[in-house]
């Protein structure tokens, strides 16, 4: 197709697909990633045998491929988990706005809850590369649900001392602080911004905690018909009008959000 038009439906080849926690899988895929422009964007995956595609956040990417992390919750993700290296998937690429790092100051708090964690990895990497200080808080239910903490730790050791700090909370206290991510926020009074992805109650708690203190960017989920702005299936009401989670989001500024 002509160069002025975007070929968003790309064939990605599975390089690996492995279980990394209870019901949670990490998949690496090879293919064109030039349409990905920001951390927090997602891809919409055609899983053979299912009519609608499955939206999954991009955890990390480079010029030759990307990583996703997904939880098995239904038949689509179950089938995805049994796919093998060498098989391929058609994916709509570079969907959504992603996090706006240019709007962030130099001391950013990143909060990921459960499978809301993956986009925080790409975002942390990006912010660190820009020379910003990053505090990452990850929340899980229990020991068996925890994943990707070692990757975050590697990131922490790869940058100069003090520019990154990692905190983990589990509801049952089996790893890190006992409780929710909001129990891990001491010392964050001076942050310039926060970014978050996770369950709605977590986003709501953070929104309340930082209201009037720091601006945030929050990533939302909604059931999607298309993922690229055509069906208006994924609308939410914001202070600046009706918005599509798939196209205007999934990331929205705290100043725009109505809870």
């Amino acid at each position: 197709m002509d160069g002025i038009y975007k070929e968003i439906d790309q064939k990605l080849v599975i390089l690996s697909n492995e279980r990394i926690a209870d019901g949670v899988y990490k998949m690496t895929l090879e293919g064109h990633t030039s349409l990905i422009t920001a951390p927090g964007q997602f891809i919409n995956i055609k899983i053979p045998g299912f009519y609608l595609r499955r939206p999954i956040s991009i955890c990390d990417y480079d010029a030759s491929g990307l990583t996703i992390i997904y939880k098995v919750v239904g038949n689509g993700t179950k089938d995805l988990s049994s796919m093998k290296a060498g098989e391929s998937l058609m994916c709509l690429m570079g969907l959504g706005n992603g996090f706006d790092v240019s709007a962030m100051g130099d001391d950013v708090l990143l909060v990921g809850g459960g499978v809301g964690t993956p986009p925080m990895y790409g975002l942390a990497k990006k912010l660190l590369a820009m020379g910003k200080a990053v505090t990452v808080v990850l929340g899980f239910n229990s020991y068996s649900d925890v994943f990707y903490t070692s990757e975050f730790e590697e990131l922490e050791t790869s940058v100069k001392d003090g520019s990154m700090e990692l905190r983990v909370a589990t509801v049952d206290g089996s790893v890190g602080t006992a409780g929710f991510v909001t129990n891990c926020l001491e010392g964050t009074e001076d942050i310039t911004d926060y970014a978050a992805c996770g369950p709605i109650p977590m986003l709501k708690a953070l929104y309340g905690y930082f209201e009037g203190k720091a601006p945030g960017q929050l990533s939302f989920e909604e059931r999607m018909g298309c993922g690229f702005g055509a069906c208006v299936g994924c609308s939410i009401k914001t202070k600046s009008g009706f918005k599509k989670v798939c196209k205007d989001g999934p990331v929205f500024f705290s100043s725009d959000i109505i809870f």
Binding site: D2, Y51, E222, R223, C231
Partner: protein
């Protein structure tokens, strides 16, 4: 090469492929993906008098070979459509477009059609009568021949553009409704809209869709849609735009053989944004395989 042009009420289309209302917005998202001027035309998002958020979310559910939507006519309202969407659309689409109009009262249909009548780029007005009539206990206009005729007449009185009435399949006799529309002056018939459907999330034991039910569409409904197009073709003498589950060039030919002069493609645009260009490319090849010299010759061919 086969001539794949077709005609709707004097409007000659380069091909019979028309993205269906509600699956193509106002064309902008797709204009980034391909040159949308290759389409026969497209039917823009159902427009009402006021801006509407639509129904609460979740309003999309997956089905085997299909989907349910209860988007609920979310749209920016006729003023914003005329002042913002249509000027933006003109930048990316230069052919006559199909204006899809909805309403919750006869007056609302009339008002919207009167406004849209003045828009030069609108080639056809497609009137969606699957909406509930708020003045008649919420029963959809499209479920009674009298109400369907009343809307047709009201709309015809305010526009000189061809009016295509878009029928709901959720009726006991689709031909009665089509005949009522034709008698009331309709220039054509579009069918089918979505079938009322439902899914339950068995883990929660609750409907998937916030509004409980919604419109079922996609490949699974193709045989129902085809049957209705076939029946309506025998009942009326005005052109038909056939739709419901069309997903490939073969489906297009089948719909046309049943009696459709052109074909709309809905849900398939959502799962494969390039489906329309793919079908337009494949259609002449398929025609050659089937030894069809002129695509419009096959309209209603299955009626023997």
């Amino acid at each position: 090469m086969t001539d794949i042009r077709t005609e709707l009420s004097g409007l000659v289309l380069d091909n019979p492929i028309i993205p269906a209302s509600g699956t193509f917005g106002f064309g902008r998202e797709f204009a980034e993906l391909y040159d949308i001027n290759i389409l026969g035309s497209f039917s823009f998002k159902g427009t009402t008098r006021e801006a509407r958020f639509g129904n609460p979310t979740p309003r999309i559910a997956e089905c085997r070979e299909g989907m349910i939507n209860s988007v609920g006519l979310a749209n920016p309202g006729i003023d914003a459509v005329i002042n913002e969407e249509l000027p933006a659309m003109r930048e990316v689409f230069t052919k006559p477009v199909i204006a899809n109009i909805s309403g919750f009262s006869v007056d609302e249909y009339k008002y919207c059609c009167e406004r849209i009548d003045k828009e030069e780029q609108v080639g056809i007005i497609e009137v969606n009568i699957s909406c509930p009539n708020v003045h008649a206990g919420g029963m959809a206009f499209g479920t009674s021949p009298e109400a369907a005729a009343e809307v047709t007449e009201a709309v015809k009185s305010v526009t000189s553009k061809p009016v295509y009435m878009k029928l709901s399949p959720n009726v006991s006799s689709i031909t009665d409704i089509a005949i009522a529309c034709e008698s009331a002056g309709a220039d054509g018939i579009s069918l089918i809209n979505t079938l009322l459907g439902m899914r339950i999330d068995i883990r929660r034991g609750r409907p998937v869709i916030a509004n409980k039910m919604g419109g079922f569409s996609g490949p699974a409904i193709f045989p129902v849609a085809l049957r209705m197009v076939y029946q309506v073709y025998e009942a009326v003498n005005i052109p038909i735009i056939g739709m419901g589950g069309v997903s490939c060039a073969e489906d297009v030919v089948e719909m046309m053989m049943a009696g459709a002069s052109a074909v709309e493609i809905g849900a398939a645009n959502l799962t494969d944004p390039y489906i329309c260009p793919k079908i337009i490319e494949r259609l002449p090849v398929l025609c050659e395989e089937l030894k069809i010299n002129k695509l419009s010759d096959i309209i209603g061919h299955a009626h023997g």
